[in-house]
Each structure stands twice: as structure tokens, then as C-alpha cells.
């Protein structure tokens, strides 16, 4: 008998439950499917690749249809592009399709933005030096390892510091871009932006990286897919429906003199895109047929034949098996992510959507649970391969190279009962076996969620990949009712919500899927993107400008109009901060509204406008508010806690204790407290300091700034400023309107912008040095400043109601020893539950030893598969930029020695 058996025996005799001693350890988890290992090897080896097939066909058919109704013209271009792309199928694949012919493929969208390529046409053609970069791009640092192509080499030209494109494709890139010279969304919106009052101010704001994102860069994403229509009707069924609707609506205004006539064109466009999607699927069937015909290995041959059967079926008909249904959702997903540069196009609660298919297959013995898990593993790889081509600032600086295809689990069903399905256990299991960055998993934690499911999820979180993250279902529902109630959202639809993007609560609805002789109400997205608006305003930078009267000492320029106010109280500082923020939102919002308005007029969603309710019912595309809920556009903040801590120190040192005058404080900040800046040292971690000769001069004020009360210690002196901020922002953001005519609200995810925006911000009153990364998340403590442990952070983070905003982000780093052993899973769940009980919206964990991360930074080659949680997503360590690596290492690690 082993010691463990003996111990269990004795525990039983003593009446102590021996089950408590068995916990999942790494060894207990089954290895990923063999095919997945092969496919992951391919993934690890291959680089991010841009090719021009899709843009070539899109552009060609678009130009051929010059003069046609825009939505029809765009549907034709898109359908042509999808159905002309070279089809590739890798050996071992069971789920097929890709964005492009390449495994990690992507392509530029010159109709969205072409100026970069046009400006660089000559340079690209002559393969000269790296093209010049915009300000946001120049301060964004892309991870250098893994699949990123940060430099040109051999026959490969580096684009956006991330993608490689083969030299022979450059002429196509240049040629296609040329046709969009002057009329891409970017250039058209620039043209009209000049008419906005405050345009120069907006330019200043963007150049100073006070705000760092243009909406046209990622016009879609941060929303939830809806797979209902194709699952219910299949492409042929949809084509028939379109014909019916065309007959009903063409030439009919139906009482709507503005939009009524548009319905006919909409259905024509939908028919075209359904045909294109069908053809695209059929191409894979044909390819698989060909591969089967030349394959000599019996196993591979059978594999190709199965693929052929699945693809031929879903090219036309509604799915009849789980595998077909899963493959069809994947086709839809690729269809949508190929229509615009996107991130955060989320899968939603697919374990509930596909449950009826799974249930029938298992009952009828068509498949086994193990086969389903294997398919779900393949699915992970497919989603991981989704890349997004945007500028370096967006891809590296904002997104850390991740495309945030979030998969949500749990929550409540339409009847208000736990929505957890047996299939969702398998989704987690697949995530434990096949450890890939995507899809990241999100648990919608509700008091009704079964304990066994929560334990399963906690066992997965424990493995250290950063997923699943934990979201508060009730808090999310509260936000839904608050934000979408005015559009008529009821409690049932509120229950359908989930994450669209890393952390964005997205409006959804339930639709009745008729399958297997019954109706299942399946959840899915019901609104457009939340990925645009006024995005990533560096709150600490705004405060800096309040103190410097609008002058940016980094750029040596006046950025905001001087307020010329004597800042003789903290209230005065706060008021001027609010005033500046209003000015910023006002001008940035107008420009972004224009960008998105031009996008929706010229590049409206097509596939997404087919899928998203109630577009098809209304006969109206997503850009024209065909979606059921449209108040999705938001203001996005960065550096919340860095800002809160700076206010707290100003209050303490300047206004309350009056230990320093504001001038003294400002002088110390401008002199970086006597340290070299991170621009000089190249180190962005908040804990690195290299003194100059002036260090001793500022030693005391620096210590006092560091020692001022900090957020995250259950100390009201600091936490009150978070409460003030949240209360202020609630009304402030809602006083501005999106291009949909709906109020903005606040999204509080920094993604990776806390790197670049920290980079442009001087030292602050809390002792953060110039150029160093802001605090991550929106309610995580600034690294190293939380001295009272996790429970104190929870207390600080919940001084306001998280249901008032789209999200609140809490990142925690736990040492693996804190949750290992027999009871670790339960204890991890205890901590999640503790935060949820307080109304905390979200918590996610990095369960990794900082020593490991330091070693990985030094020897990335040994850690190709190491994953960390960055903001709302997991990414390969070697593919994130150094400032964010430094920040993750420096996060406080909770352990138990």
C-alpha cells in the first residue's frame, strides 16, 4: 500500500472525508489529442503572415461594381474574396477553415486604412528602411519572440512590427492600396474631421498619446457572435428566406420613409453573402475531396473524407450533428473576422448554443464524450490562429497581439435558472488539456452556478494559463438593465449577456432553436461593437496636464488650452481635471463618431449584419442600428489606479499636510525625482530606478510620495478618490452621445495601453517615475503598493457599485503554492466567491512564480509555450512587449511561505 492509500484508509476510519485529499494535479490531466500536438507544433513554428488574396479579390470586385448600391457592392466584394481564397487543410485537422490560406494569416484592409501603405509605397517597393511610424506606433513595443515578425529578413518584409509579407506580394499591396488613396475610411473621416470644432485640439490629443486609438482601426469586434440563423436554417435556408423577404420588401417603404426602402437592398446583400459563405465552405469540401483522393495513408484519408462530408453538408444545410454545428459556427466566426480589422469578436456561450447538438449525438451514440473533447481541443487551436492586422500601436501596444475571442460559460438561462450545460464541462476540460491562448474562457459566476462546475473551472484556473477569468453574473445583468433598459431590454434578455472582447459586458438575447424535436432558447449577441468610441484616455496624463497648465513637457508643446487657474485646493485640481476630460471627450468623440459613421456608410458589416438580431428581422444592417441594442459605444479609460494614487498623494502631501507646495511637487515630478527616465534606461518596470546627481535633492519628497496612502489597502484616505472618480465618470460619460445617438458609458479595461500611455506620462505625485507602465486593470492595486493583502484590495475595489459601468478589472498574481495541495482548488474558489459576494465584477489570476517569469524574460527560447494573463486575456509570454512583461513580473505576488 502506498502512503497515500494508507492515509486515505486512516482518514476514512477517523471519519475525515478522504475525497478532500484528491485534487487534480498536472499529472492527472490527460494529454492533448495527438493531432493537436502536431498542429500546435506548426503554430509555434509559423510566423504571422500577411498575404494579399483577400484584399485583391475584394478590391477587384468592388471596383467592377462601381456605382452599385453600397451594401450590395460590399457584399459582392466580400463574397468574392471569401470564395476565391486558396483553401488549405493541414494534416491532422478535424475542424477546418482559416482566415486566409496561412495558419497565422491576416491581411490589410486598405478600404479601411490605406494611407500607411500609400505613404510607404516607394519605401516598400524598394524594401528600404522601416517605414516611419505614428506617435502611438512609435511608443508601442511589440513582443519580439514567437510568431511576431518584428524585423524584415530574407524575402520577408516586416509590417506593423508583427507580420511578415513575402516580397512578391508587395506590388499587389501597393496596387490595391492605391485604389483607396483618399477614400479609405481613415482618409475620408480625416477629411470631415477637419470640420469639427476643436480639430486641432483632437490632433494634439492624439499626438501626445493622451488618447491612443482611432475607431476606424478596429471598427468591429468587442461584441458577441450570434450563430442562430445558420444553425437553424443553413445557408440554403437563409438564401430562401432572403428571396422571400426580397419579394416582400423590394419597393415597399412600409411606413418608414428613411429606412424602409433600404430593406430590399439589405436582403439582396444578405443573399449574396450567404451564397459566398456557402461557396467558401464548399471549397473546403472540394479540397478535402481532392486530398482524400491522393492520400495513401488510410487514417489521413478517412480524416479528409470526414471533413469533406461535414463541409459539403454545412455548405448548404443546417447542421445535423455536433461536429457540423461546431464547424459551422467556426465558418461564421471566420466570415465575420474577415470583414474588418477586428479584435474581441467573441464566441459567447457556445456550450449552451451547441448543447442540443451534443445531447442528441451522445444519446444516439453518434459520438463520444472523448471525441467531443478532442474536437473542442481542435477548436481552441483554430481560434488561437486568428490574427488581426492593424498598425503596431494597435496590434502590439493595445492588444499585445491577442484578438480576444472570448468564450463565456455559466450564467443563467432564459428562465432564470443555471445555464450550465454538460458540454461546458468539456469546454473547460479541453482548455485544460490543450493549453492555448485562445479562446480565453470566462465564467459567469452566479450563486446558482453548480458547485461542481465552479470547482471544475477553478481546477482549470489553477493550472496557470490565466483562464478562466471570473465575472459576476448579477453585476453584469445589473449593468445590462442600467445601460440597455432605455432601449427596452427586459430581464430575460439581460440574462443572455456575456463577454464580448476581453472584459466587455455585451448585450445579448435568447432565440428559439428548433432541433432534436424541441425548442432550446440559445443565447447570442444582439448589439454592435463596443470596440470604438473615445478609447484609451490616459487618466494620469490628464492630471499631469492639469498640473502643467496644459503643457506637455515630453513633447515640449502646449497640448490642452491653459486653464490658468491657481490650484489652491484639491477640489480645484479635480475640477480642472474634469474640465480637461470633458474637452478631450468632446473633440475626440466627434472625430470618432465621424470615423464610425463613414465606416458604416462605406464599409458596413455584412456577415455580421446577417447574423446579429434583429438585423434580419428589420431588414437593416448593423451599422444602421439593425441590432436589438445599440448603446454599445463607450469611453475607455487607462491608468485608473495610477491616477487615484496620484490624487491621494497630492491631497496628503500638498493640501492636507501641506508638507510641500504644489510648485515643489511639480518640480520634483518634472525632475523625475532625481532619477533617470525609463526612456534613458530602457527599463519600464515600476520598481527600477537609476539615480542622477539630483537624487538626494528629491529623496525626501520621493519617499513621502511613495508613502502617501495608496489604493488597495482598505484605506479610505486613498479609496475615496476611486469612489469620487467612478461617481463623476458615471454622469460625465453619459453626457456625450455616440454616432448611434446613444449615451456613452465607461469601459475600464486597459488591454495593454498601460504600457504606451505610461511611457508618455511624466513622474507623478504618487512616486511613479516617468515612462513607467501604469497600473494594470481598473481596480488592481498599483504593483508593490498593496501592503494589506488580497482582502484589503477587495475592500478597496468595491467602494462603488461595479454594475454602473461595463466592467471593472482586477488582476491578481498568486504564487502556485497558495493554491496547490488538496484544498487549493476550494480555496481559490473561496477567494473568487469572496470578491463576487462584494459585487466585484471580475477577477483573474496569474498563478505563476515570478522567478519563472524572470527566467523566461532572460531565456525566452526555453518558454515558447509559457502563457500569462495580461489584462483581459492570455498571451504567450514571448509575444508580449517588454514593458508589459516588466509590469506582470512586478505585480504583487500573493504567496504563503
Amino acid at each position: 500500500m502506498t502512503n497515500e492509500e494508507k492515509l486515505n484508509e486512516l482518514l476514512k476510519q477517523r471519519g475525515i472525508n478522504p475525497e478532500q485529499l484528491t485534487a487534480i494535479t498536472m499529472e492527472d490531466i490527460l494529454a492533448q489529442a495527438e493531432g493537436c500536438t502536431h498542429l500546435m507544433d506548426i503554430y509555434y513554428t509559423l510566423k504571422n503572415t500577411v498575404d494579399m488574396e483577400y484584399p485583391y479579390w475584394y478590391n477587384r470586385v468592388w471596383q467592377e461594381n462601381d456605382g452599385d448600391i453600397t451594401i450590395v457592392r460590399r457584399a459582392k466584394a466580400m463574397a468574392a474574396a471569401l470564395s476565391h481564397m486558396t483553401v488549405t487543410i493541414q494534416p491532422y485537422e478535424k475542424l477546418v477553415m482559416n482566415k486566409t490560406r496561412n495558419v497565422r494569416g491576416a491581411f490589410p484592409f486598405p478600404w479601411v486604412t490605406a494611407s500607411f501603405f500609400n505613404a510607404q509605397a516607394e519605401a516598400l517597393m524598394s524594401e528600404a528602411d522601416a517605414p516611419a511610424l505614428s506617435e502611438a506606433d512609435a511608443v508601442s513595443i511589440v513582443g519580439e519572440g514567437g510568431g511576431n515578425v518584428t524585423k524584415s529578413y530574407g524575402n520577408i518584409i516586416s509590417l506593423a512590427k508583427k507580420f511578415g509579407i513575402r516580397k512578391e506580394e508587395i506590388p499587389v499591396l501597393v496596387e490595391v492600396s492605391k485604389s483607396w488613396n483618399g477614400n479609405s475610411v481613415e482618409e475620408l473621416s480625416n477629411k470631415y474631421a477637419r470640420y469639427t470644432p476643436g480639430y486641432q485640439l483632437e490632433q494634439n490629443i492624439m499626438e501626445s498619446v493622451l488618447c491612443m486609438f482611432d475607431s476606424y482601426c478596429i471598427p468591429q469586434g468587442r461584441e458577441v457572435m450570434n450563430y442562430y440563423l445558420p444553425l437553424q436554417y443553413g445557408w440554403d435556408g437563409i438564401i430562401d428566406l432572403c428571396d422571400q423577404r426580397i419579394e416582400e420588401t423590394m419597393g415597399e417603404s412600409d411606413g418608414d420613409g428613411i429606412l424602409g426602402m433600404g430593406r430590399g437592398y439589405y436582403y439582396v446583400a444578405m443573399k449574396i453573402i450567404a451564397q459566398g459563405m456557402s461557396k467558401w465552405c464548399q471549397n473546403y469540401a472540394d479540397r478535402a475531396h481532392y486530398l482524400a483522393s491522393i492520400e495513401t495513408d488510410a487514417v489521413f484519408k478517412k480524416n479528409y473524407e470526414e471533413i469533406e462530408a461535414v463541409m459539403a453538408h454545412i455548405a448548404h444545410k443546417a447542421p445535423q450533428t455536433f461536429r457540423q454545428a461546431l464547424q459551422l459556427t467556426l465558418a461564421c466566426h471566420y466570415g465575420v473576422v474577415n470583414e474588418d480589422p477586428q479584435s474581441g469578436q467573441s464566441i459567447g456561450r457556445i456550450g449552451q448554443v451547441l448543447q442540443p447538438f451534443y445531447e442528441k449525438d451522445i444519446r444516439e451514440g453518434i459520438t463520444t464524450e472523448e471525441e467531443v473533447i478532442e474536437l473542442l481541443e481542435f477548436y481552441r487551436i483554430k481560434i488561437t490562429c486568428i490574427e488581426c492586422f492593424a498598425s503596431a500601436g494597435v496590434t502590439g501596444g493595445v492588444l499585445s497581439g491577442n484578438t480576444f475571442n472570448n468564450l463565456s460559460l455559466g450564467g443563467l438561462n432564459r428562465d432564470g435558472l443555471s445555464a450550465v450545460t454538460p458540454l461546458e464541462y468539456h469546454i473547460i476540460e479541453a482548455g485544460m488539456r490543450c493549453r492555448t491562448t485562445q479562446p480565453t474562457l470566462s465564467i459567469l459566476y452566479d450563486e446558482k452556478t453548480p458547485e461542481s462546475f465552479l470547482m471544475k473551472a477553478a481546477s482549470c484556473t489553477k493550472l496557470g494559463m490565466g483562464y478562466p477569468a471570473w465575472m459576476n453574473n448579477q453585476t453584469g445583468m445589473n449593468f445590462m438593465m442600467m445601460n440597455y433598459g432605455p432601449e427596452g431590454m427586459n430581464l430575460q434578455d439581460a440574462r443572455a449577456w456575456c463577454l464580448g472582447g476581453c472584459l466587455e459586458s455585451s448585450p445579448c438575447c435568447f432565440l428559439p432553436l428548433e432541433y432534436d424535436g424541441k425548442i432550446t432558447w440559445i443565447p447570442g449577441g444582439a448589439g454592435p461593437t463596443a470596440g470604438s468610441g473615445v478609447h484609451f484616455v490616459g487618466l494620469p496624463k490628464v492630471l499631469e496636464l492639469v498640473l502643467t497648465n496644459g503643457y506637455d513637457h515630453r513633447m515640449k508643446r502646449q497640448i490642452l488650452p491653459a486653464h490658468n487657474r491657481k490650484l489652491d485646493s484639491l477640489e480645484a485640481v479635480q475640477e480642472e481635471w474634469v474640465n480637461y476630460l470633458k474637452q478631450i471627450i468632446d473633440v475626440v468623440n466627434k472625430v470618432n463618431n465621424l470615423q464610425m459613421d463613414i465606416w458604416r456608410k462605406h464599409c458596413m458589416p455584412i456577415v455580421n449584419s446577417l447574423l446579429k438580431p434583429d438585423c434580419f428581422t428589420k431588414g437593416r444592417d448593423l451599422g444602421m442600428m439593425g441590432g436589438r441594442y445599440n448603446a454599445t459605444i463607450n469611453f475607455e479609460s487607462c491608468g485608473t489606479i495610477t491616477f487615484v494614487n496620484a490624487l491621494s498623494s497630492l491631497y496628503k502631501n500638498v493640501y492636507k499636510d501641506k508638507k510641500y507646495t504644489l510648485e515643489q511637487m511639480l518640480e520634483a515630478m518634472l525632475h523625475n525625482f532625481g532619477f533617470k527616465t525609463s526612456y534613458e534606461t530602457g527599463v519600464f518596470s515600476p520598481d527600477f530606478r537609476e539615480a542622477t546627481d539630483e537624487a538626494s535633492k528629491y529623496a525626501q519628497i520621493f519617499a513621502d510620495c511613495l508613502n502617501a496612502p495608496k489604493f488597495g489597502n482598505a484605506d479610505w484616505e486613498a479609496d475615496q478618490f476611486l469612489k469620487w472618480y467612478e461617481d463623476t465618470m458615471f454622469g460625465l460619460t453619459r453626457s456625450f452621445q455616440s454616432y448611434y445617438g446613444k449615451p456613452l458609458y465607461m469601459c475600464q479595461i486597459s488591454v495593454s495601453t498601460h504600457g504606451p500611455q505610461g511611457f508618455v506620462t511624466l513622474a507623478d505625485a504618487a512616486g511613479r517615475l516617468a515612462g513607467t507602465t501604469y497600473s494594470d486593470g481598473s481596480v488592481s492595486a498599483a504593483a508593490g503598493t498593496d501592503k494589506n493583502g488580497i482582502y484589503a484590495i477587495f475592500e478597496s475595489a468595491t467602494v462603488y457599485d461595479h454594475g454602473t459601468q461595463q466592467n471593472a478589472q482586477m488582476n491578481l498574481k498568486l504564487h502556485p503554492s497558495a493554491v496547490n495541495g488538496v484544498q487549493g482548488t476550494r480555496k481559490l474558489l473561496d477567494i473568487v466567491r469572496a470578491y463576487m459576494r462584494k459585487g466585484g465584477f471580475h477577477v483573474q489570476f496569474n498563478i505563476v512564480d515570478s522567478k519563472t517569469l524572470r527566467d523566461a524574460q532572460a531565456k525566452p527560447e526555453n518558454y515558447r509555450d509559457l502563457m500569462v494573463r495580461v489584462a483581459g486575456f492570455t498571451q504567450y509570454w514571448c509575444e508580449i512587449g517588454k514593458p508589459i512583461q516588466d509590469e506582470v513580473i512586478y505585480r504583487t505576488e500573493y504567496e504563503n511561505a
Binding site: 502512503n3 494508507k6 492515509l7 486512516l10 482518514l11 477517523r14 475525515i16 472525508n17 478522504p18 478532500q20 485529499l21 532619477f675 530606478r689 537609476e690 539615480a691 546627481d693 537624487a695 538626494s696 529623496a699 525626501q700 520621493f702 519617499a703 511613495l706 508613502n707 482598505a714 512616486g767 494589506n788 493583502g789 488580497i790 482582502y791 484589503a792 477587495f794 475592500e795 503554492s817 497558495a818 493554491v819 496547490n820 495541495g821 488538496v822 484544498q823 487549493g824 476550494r826 480555496k827 474558489l829 473561496d830 477567494i831 466567491r833 469572496a834 470578491y835 459576494r837 462584494k838 500573493y894 504563503n896 511561505a897
Partner: protein, 315 residues
């Protein structure tokens, strides 16, 4: 209600989400002061009962020219040579004002230990009570919480009013009456028995084990209903022998005890010894391998004693 408003104790840490000090998730309160002086101690900062200074040279920014501490110290307690900063421990151990630590921006100079009143500690515990979950609670550790019996009892009484689960980690090296007075308010206890051989116990911890063992017997003989788990760090060449285990087994059987938790020796406290200006005896010795722990575990199990290694415990 006893008047506990004036009682204070020095705590050197309050650790939230403490997961290896009793059932469930807990908050562990570390008291300063200990009757033992274990040569391998991982919390040597608790040796002093009063707030005192610690200096972490590793994080000191002296190489970048920082001398903020010397500018603030009124006693010339700190000096800098080419080799770096030097703390004049004979001066600094007597200090109770710690100007240097408020001048230090790197947290290299830190004050260890802070006076808490019963109310202050209870407000922290009440806050954390929201977080423990159904299994957890508070663990009083140290140092030795039983050195602060009056304060501890006052806190325990308040905890019991709120139905908080309570645990202690103690050396049990206190007067029997103190132990028996406190323990009725405690649900769960860890008592360390570092060595069954009295001479060796003295050599390792500077005190005899006789009071400890008699206290354990007295506790078990009382009508205390709590759960008692014995604990010790297994240290190579000191208490890793089978003979020591057998003697402990005999003792446990005599006293109706059946749970022991053996911990693998670690050196996580080494830098703290240095930060306090002490030398650490176990810098290069004391390590045990996993086989030794498993061999010891099987000895206990063969004698029907539940033996848990490290954090692999059923709580």
C-alpha cells in the same frame, strides 16, 4: 464584557488569504515575541517583542547615490562605505523612532512590528470575515500568540461572539494555566514538537521540551473539544530520525493524539536573519529530501497516526 480597551500587542504581520495555517482560507495574525529561539526560524523578526528595524540591503538604492536615511537619522545609526550601507545594530536595536524608514523610498529600511489594540485588530478581522468562506477563519501565530495571553483572550472572546472559527499556532511553552485559560476559545491548534529528545530540543530551540509536552498532555486531559495537530519542520541531522518519530508516536498515543503535520525545511527566512543583523546557522545545512519525508510519513502511518506532509492536508 471585560475592559480590553487599553490592552495592546505588537503584531509583525497580518496576512490575508492565508491558506496553510488551518482549515479553509484564513487571516493569520503574527504576534511578536517567542519563548523559543529556533536556530532555523523563518520568522526571526518575532524574536523582539517591540517594534524594531529591519534592513534589506538587496533593495537599498545606495549604488544610485541615495543617502536619504543618513540625512534623517539623528543617532548616526547608518553609515556608507565603499562596500555599501552599514547599519550600526548596537545603536539601531535600541531605536524606537525610526526616522530612517520614513525617509527610505525603497522600503529597504522597514519597521517591523506595530502596536494594535483589540478594537483595531477586530476591525481588520471583521472586514476579512467577509472573505474566508465557510471553512476559514483566523489563525493566531507568531512568534507565539500565547505570550500575549490577555490580549489574545480579549480578541478570542470577540471572535467567538461573531462565531469566527479560531486557530492558534503555538509553542505551548507557556504556563499551563495560561494555556488552559485560552484554549476553550480556540477551535483548532497547531503545537510544534521540534524534538522529543530534551537535550536536542534545548540545543535547537534554547528551551526544554518538558513544559511543552506536559502542556499538551494537560490540554488533552482537559475537556477541550478542539482539534489538535502536532507540527514540526523536518531538519536534516536534527529531527529527521525514525527514532524521534517513534518517540513522538508513543507520546501521541498516550495522549490520544492522531494527527501530525511534517514540514519540509526551507530557507525562506534566511534573508530576514541578515536584515536583522544576525547570522543564520542553517545557510548550508538542514535540507531534507522528499524520500526522507515519505519514509517518516510511512512510519507514522504504520502506527495509525495521520501524517500530512507540507500543505497536503485534509483541511
Amino acid at each position: 464584557m471585560t475592559d480590553s480597551s487599553n490592552i495592546q500587542a505588537v503584531l509583525f504581520d497580518i496576512q490575508a488569504f492565508s491558506v496553510h495555517d488551518g482549515p479553509g482560507c484564513r487571516t493569520t495574525v503574527f504576534f511578536s515575541g517567542c519563548p523559543l529561539r529556533c536556530r532555523w526560524c523563518s520568522n526571526p523578526e518575532n524574536f523582539t517583542v517591540h517594534p524594531h528595524l529591519m534592513f534589506a540591503q538587496r533593495v537599498c538604492k545606495w549604488t544610485s547615490g541615495c543617502r536619504a536615511c543618513t540625512q534623517r537619522c539623528p543617532r548616526n545609526g547608518l553609515a556608507f562605505t565603499e562596500k555599501g550601507p552599514e547599519v550600526q545594530w548596537e545603536i539601531c536595536r535600541k531605536c524606537h523612532t525610526f526616522e530612517c524608514s520614513s525617509a527610505c523610498a525603497s522600503s529597504a529600511l522597514k519597521v517591523c512590528g506595530k502596536y494594535y489594540s483589540v478594537d483595531e485588530l477586530m476591525s481588520v478581522l471583521k472586514r476579512d470575515f467577509n472573505n474566508w468562506g465557510s471553512e476559514g477563519g483566523v489563525t493566531f501565530s507568531g512568534g507565539d500568540p500565547l505570550l500575549h495571553a490577555e490580549f489574545l483572550k480579549a480578541v478570542l472572546v470577540e471572535c467567538k461572539k461573531l462565531q469566527i472559527h479560531t486557530a492558534v499556532e503555538t509553542s505551548a511553552c507557556v504556563p499551563e494555566s495560561t494555556l488552559l485559560d485560552i484554549m476553550p476559545l480556540v477551535d483548532f491548534a497547531f503545537v510544534d514538537v521540534k524534538n522529543m529528545d530534551d537535550e536536542k530540543h534545548k540545543a535547537g530551540t534554547s528551551v526544554s521540551n518538558r513544559l511543552i509536552l506536559s502542556n499538551i498532555s494537560a490540554l488533552k486531559a482537559s475537556d477541550w473539544q478542539g482539534r489538535l495537530v502536532l507540527r514540526y519542520p523536518v531538519i536534516s541531522g536534527y529531527n529527521d530520525s525514525e527514532a524521534n518519530a517513534i518517540r513522538l508516536i508513543d507520546f501521541m498515543k498516550e495522549n490520544g493524539l492522531f494527527e501530525v503535520n511534517i514540514l519540509k525545511f526551507h530557507r525562506l527566512g534566511q534573508t530576514k536573519w541578515e536584515q536583522l543583523g544576525h547570522t543564520y546557522d542553517y545557510a548550508a545545512s538542514g535540507d531534507v529530501d522528499d524520500e526522507t519525508l515519505q519514509r517518516l510519513q510511512s512510519v507514522y502511518l504504520d502506527h495509525d497516526i495521520l501524517c500530512y506532509i507540507g500543505d497536503k492536508t485534509p483541511f
